[in-house]
């Protein structure tokens, strides 16, 4: 049984609609919704879905650019169609409570990328890696540690530090010790 099945189903239903409309903004929002679930359950398959929804939103957003720069539209359309069918199969498996089939579909989704070749593969890999980093930064923002987040999303702390640093957050409750005390501790350590 997949934890939070109803939530995932709701997200996947939304994804299907957004794909039909090629509405990448809706996809981005759905991905942001599912990261909260991913932060709590940390189920690798749900995390994969979260990443793929975000990657999909980016692929649609940049579809024109991709078609022009990396691939004949045939390969692109085929990839996109398979992707969509895969989401439909994932949803069906979940609806039938078939967690094994669901996990196989998530795996199949990852393999879709393996079967693409040439520049399109490079392009899609790049989009997926950026999607992983983006989702990791959201998870870190929610309070999961940097090490844990990097390990869950399969990226390095270097990538995460670079990205989160570019989007620093300002919440006063994160100040846990007055800076004067921390500086005092530092002075004592270095005998300043």
């Amino acid at each position: 049984m997949i934890e939070g099945k109803n939530h995932i189903l709701k997200i996947l239903e939304g994804v299907k609609l957004a794909l039909d409309e090629k509405n990448y903004i809706k996809l981005k929002n759905l991905s942001n919704e599912s990261i909260e679930h991913a932060s709590i359950h940390q189920d690798p398959d749900v995390i994969s879905i979260t990443v793929l929804i975000y990657a999909l939103s980016k692929l649609i957003e940049r579809e024109k650019d991709c078609k022009e720069n990396c691939q004949p539209s045939e390969s692109w359309s085929l990839f996109f169609r398979k992707f969509k069918n895969n989401i439909i199969d994932m949803t069906a498996a979940l609806q039938k409570d078939n967690s094994e089939k669901f996990r196989n579909e998530v795996k199949a989704n990852r393999q879709l990328l393996e079967n693409v070749s040439g520049k399109l593969k490079e392009y899609i890999s790049d989009v997926f890696q950026k999607a992983r980093i983006n989702k990791a930064s959201k998870m870190y923002e929610q309070g999961i540690s940097m090490g844990k987040t990097a390990s869950i999303l399969g990226i390095s702390i270097w990538e995460l530090a670079e990205y989160t640093g570019s989007k620093p957050e300002e919440i006063s409750i994160t100040v846990t010790l007055p800076i004067s005390k921390r500086l005092q501790l530092t002075k004592e350590l270095f005998e300043l």
Partner: protein, 227 residues
């Protein structure tokens, strides 16, 4: 002998900001050892050696490791086994402290837990509290103000969080500084050799923008305090 334990974040941050040469100077000023765990070595050297974008930085950190600017703690086999047990216990406790309606939040990983565990082990060995350098927010909040971490989660998840407050005591003794406080030492001792009043603020912001959890308010306060 004095010791300072480094988490991965501050070393990555120093490296990304071209401040690694400062680490050697800092160590001389510290007159002790800069210690890392094997988990941190993996994150700062072994993993990035396989990523072209970070390979050069990893080589520089490897060089610092080879020169013992950063090093592993000198532990016996028995102590290493004990370290592993403490690490796993801390991770287990931390990850069973904050609970949402849907389950416990798994907050920290082996790397952060191992750094904390090493501090406990060395305290036991040397009867002294060994401080840590940690840039990331979650571990620091767990140690210094877990109630604020609870509030933080409640705000982020927009839900009530239940806590096992008895777990707080496991983390209450650690002392933490960040890469930004090390920047203060660099500035104070003029190790950067840049005679410009903006050097401290520039360093601190550079570290903030590469992952050190510090607010603008704290930076302003720091500037005011050192004036």
């Amino acid at each position: 002998m004095k010791y300072l334990i480094f988490d991965a974040g501050p070393l990555i941050n120093f490296s990304m900001n071209g401040l690694l040469p400062m680490l050697e100077k800092l160590k001389k000023e510290f007159k002790g050892q800069f210690i890392i765990t094997k988990e941190v070595k993996r994150e700062i050297i072994d993993v990035p050696l396989g990523i072209k974008k970070y390979e050069l930085e990893a080589l520089r950190l490897q060089d610092a490791f080879n020169k013992k600017i950063i090093q592993h703690a000198d532990l016996t086999e028995k102590e290493i086994d004990e370290l592993r047990l403490i690490r796993d216990r801390l991770m287990q406790v931390a990850n069973n402290t904050f609970k949402t309606k849907k389950g416990y939040l798994h907050l920290i990983d082996k790397g952060e837990s191992a750094a904390l565990a090493l501090s406990i082990l060395m305290k036991k060995k040397f009867k002294e509290n060994i401080p840590l350098v940690v840039d990331e927010r979650t571990t620091r909040m767990l140690v210094e103000n877990p109630d604020n971490l609870k509030k933080y989660f409640e705000r982020k998840f927009n839900a009530q969080i239940n806590v096992n407050k008895k777990n707080y005591q496991e983390f209450a003794e650690f002392k933490i500084i960040r890469s930004t406080e090390l920047a203060y030492v660099i500035w104070k001792k003029n190790l950067l050799e840049i005679k410009d009043s903006r050097a401290l603020e520039a360093m601190v912001y550079a570290l903030k923008f590469h992952g050190c959890s510090i607010t603008d308010g704290e930076i302003e306060e720091m500037k005011r305090l050192v004036r």
